[in-house]
């Protein structure tokens, strides 16, 4: 039995836990149950269940007409998802690794993201584009990127990045129901996969039944008074680990999980920085010309006086992600780098 069966258990505990992967699947299954127009397509999403377990069990439950294995033709099947969405279906299409966007980006940023605008709002594209991101397991430069900054940079697509199981379910539900194209980037390291080292926060409580997390709202996952750590995805887990470690040392971190990049919850960021006066952005995407600069710019535009110390950022430097573990971990935003940055900020 898998969790994708109807949850008819009588004695279901309210603290029922799932991995992020299973929570994502549960959201998809519930939406497919609710709406016949929702269907899934992509490479290895059928019998394999998605190579990062993003669609496990869906084929058995919904059949091959609603869970479709495609050829290795991203331009064709993502473009087809766009066309199907234009005609009122609600596809969830998976780009296996975000790193592959190069072969199909035209359909994404020139078609999926622009048709609504170009048509003066007359045509909708209710599509969810899911994709796996992130490194830390030696998959090398072409299979370890995050790239959410690139998608967020281009107008016309919403961008969501869940960090934990409950948000994975809630944001997927919201994404499917949104009439706009939503890019849903899930970090392989938060999926809770049996075959990849996982942070304990990859398993967590997930509400049963309908669960929606609004797109465009960040979450203050740990309130604090000394430093605002704005972050997303796997880095949320690391930031929380560092915050727990530093609290007894008298450094109180407020951790803000962005959850959405487009729309970006600037208000929550500004409110937090307004209180703490210290900003650290932790971003596993590349350092330059991206998300971390955007967050800091939004604070500076509002009022640089909010900051009692220069803003800091921990990101992947402008280098292809190396293969060898010592090299890879030198560039990732590890807990060590986060801890040092927090301590530098508070002047310790």
């Amino acid at each position: 039995m898998t969790l994708t069966d109807a949850s008819a258990s009588s004695a279901t505990p309210t603290t029922r836990k799932l991995t992020t992967a299973k929570a994502m699947v549960e959201a998809i299954a519930q939406e497919m149950e609710r709406d016949d127009d929702v269907f899934v397509l992509g490479e290895d999403v059928g019998a394999y269940g998605g190579i990062f377990s993003s669609t496990t069990g869906l084929l058995d439950r919904f059949g091959p007409k609603r869970v479709i294995d495609t050829p290795i033709s991203e331009t064709a099947f993502i473009g087809a998802a766009v066309g199907a969405a234009v005609e009122g279906l609600r596809p969830i299409v998976e780009l296996m690794f975000v790193d592959f966007f190069g072969v199909c980006m035209d359909q994404i940023y020139n078609h999926m993201a622009k048709i609504h605008f170009e048509s003066g709002g007359n045509v909708k594209v209710p599509l969810v584009l899911t994709t796996a991101v992130g490194g830390g397991y030696s998959d090398g430069a072409q299979h370890s990127q995050c790239l959410w900054g690139t998608f967020a940079h281009l107008p016309g697509m919403k961008v969501v990045v869940p960090s934990n199981p409950a948000d994975a379910k809630g944001l997927m539900t919201a994404a499917v129901r949104d009439d706009n194209p939503v890019v849903y980037l899930f970090h392989k390291g938060v999926m809770g996969l049996p075959w990849m080292a996982k942070n304990r926060r990859s398993v967590g409580p997930v509400p049963e039944g309908e669960h929606v997390v609004p797109i465009g709202k960040a979450n203050v996952v740990r309130p604090g008074s000394d430093v605002t750590v704005v972050t997303l995805s796997l880095s949320v887990h690391h930031a929380l680990d560092v915050a727990e470690e530093l609290a007894p040392q008298g450094v109180d971190c407020e951790v803000v999980d962005l959850r959405s990049l487009v729309p970006l919850d600037t208000d929550t960021i500004l409110e937090s920085v307004g209180r703490t006066g210290r900003l650290l952005v932790v971003d596993e995407d590349y350092l330059s010309f991206g998300l971390s600069g955007e967050i800091i710019a939004r604070v500076a535009e509002r009022d640089p006086g909010l900051l009692r110390a220069p803003a800091a950022r921990v990101a992947v430097p402008d280098v292809p992600i190396p293969y060898a573990r010592p090299l890879e971990y030198a560039v990732l935003p590890t807990p060590d780098r986060i801890r040092r940055a927090v301590l530098d900020l508070v002047g310790a």
Partner: protein
């Protein structure tokens, strides 16, 4: 072929040609003395379809408003033949508020949900969404078809091949149309394509491929009938290539210095050729021809006037319609 069908094809070709000639005039009218692409009532690029009328008229004669057509950067003939609202299409080309896209798309990005018409300015990239529309039609159990149009240059782009494979694999109701007008801007097909006919490539995907060599609207009509019927019957996609004629430049402002076939072009114009044939067959006489021409003229004029009366969009609305509101 029945006389009224033939007359209908002729009427459609005249309407398209009248439209393109009108847009040509309007486009250039205020870009003098030196051609400034950004100036005038119709700014930007302009890709007109004069000479390619037979493809649109012949294919779209078999379609209803429920069928989808995805066209290219040179979309006017297909939009007109498929029944897109001429007033709103023209207003969009003029960048006005009452345009199909409220002035946001322009001539290469015409979207009309009422007729499931769309176009893409990216070479070959209109094919995959058309495949997706066909997927939706198939899934809903209808006999609707999606017509996907590209030029011959697009047949060397990855999206073309991926779309053919996917549509063939899933037996989708698509009619792939390739307009071979000999030129990918300035590059002749002989310098871009490894085969002499893209209809041959259809065999590589296990689907039927037909090439119409002489830009004849009736030949297109016949070949398209079979392809559309095949799709409606659930038998899968087909490829039709039409050797057609780009009467003018790739875009307006193209001096065509590279074009080695210019001398022969007027003689290959399909419109006078077809008119001559219909007259010879007794299907068309002066009265009918004049009436058709006058109706086309009036319809196009009305569309241009509608466009010119429509206001320009307010800059304050520039950020509107990025996202659909809940």
């Amino acid at each position: 072929m029945e006389p009224d069908v033939r007359l209908g094809l002729y009427r459609m070709m005249v309407l398209i040609r009248t439209y393109e000639e009108t847009i040509l005039r309007e486009y250039h009218a205020d870009k003098k003395p030196v051609f400034d692409i950004g100036a005038g009532l119709i700014p930007g690029e302009m890709h007109l379809s004069a000479g390619q009328e037979p493809v649109a008229a012949g294919v779209c004669a078999h379609l209803t408003a429920d069928d989808a057509v995805t066209a290219t950067h040179r979309p006017h003939h297909f939009a007109i033949a498929h029944g897109v609202d001429l007033d709103r299409m023209t207003a969009e080309i003029f960048g006005r508020v009452d345009g199909l896209g409220r002035g946001r798309g322009g001539h290469m990005h015409l979207f009309d949900p009422a007729t499931h018409f769309s176009c893409s300015g990216i070479i070959a990239e209109g094919y995959p969404p058309a495949v997706g529309q066909a997927l939706a039609f198939q899934r809903r159990g209808t006999d609707r078809v999606a017509v996907a149009v590209t030029g011959e240059g697009a047949a060397n782009q990855g999206a073309f091949h991926e779309a053919l494979n996917l549509a063939a694999l899933w037996k989708l109701p698509v009619v792939f149309v390739v307009e071979d007008n000999d030129w990918g801007i300035s590059v002749p097909r002989s310098a871009s394509t490894c085969v002499t006919s893209n209809a041959e490539r259809a065999a590589g995907y296990g689907i039927p491929g037909e090439r119409v060599e002489d830009n004849s609207v009736e030949a297109v009509h016949e070949v398209a009938a079979a392809a559309v019927a095949r799709a409606r019957a659930g038998e899968g996609p087909s490829l039709i290539e039409v050797h057609t004629l780009r009467l003018w430049g790739h875009f307006e402002g193209d001096a065509q210095g590279y074009r080695s076939d210019l001398e022969g072009v007027p003689g290959r114009d399909p419109l006078p050729t077809y008119e001559k044939r219909l007259r010879a067959d007794g299907v068309l006489d002066d009265t009918a021809a004049n009436s058709i021409a006058a109706q086309a003229h009036d319809r196009v004029q009305a569309a241009v006037e509608f466009a010119k009366r429509s206001p320009e969009p307010d800059p304050a609305t520039a950020l509107d319609h990025v996202f659909a509101q809940a």
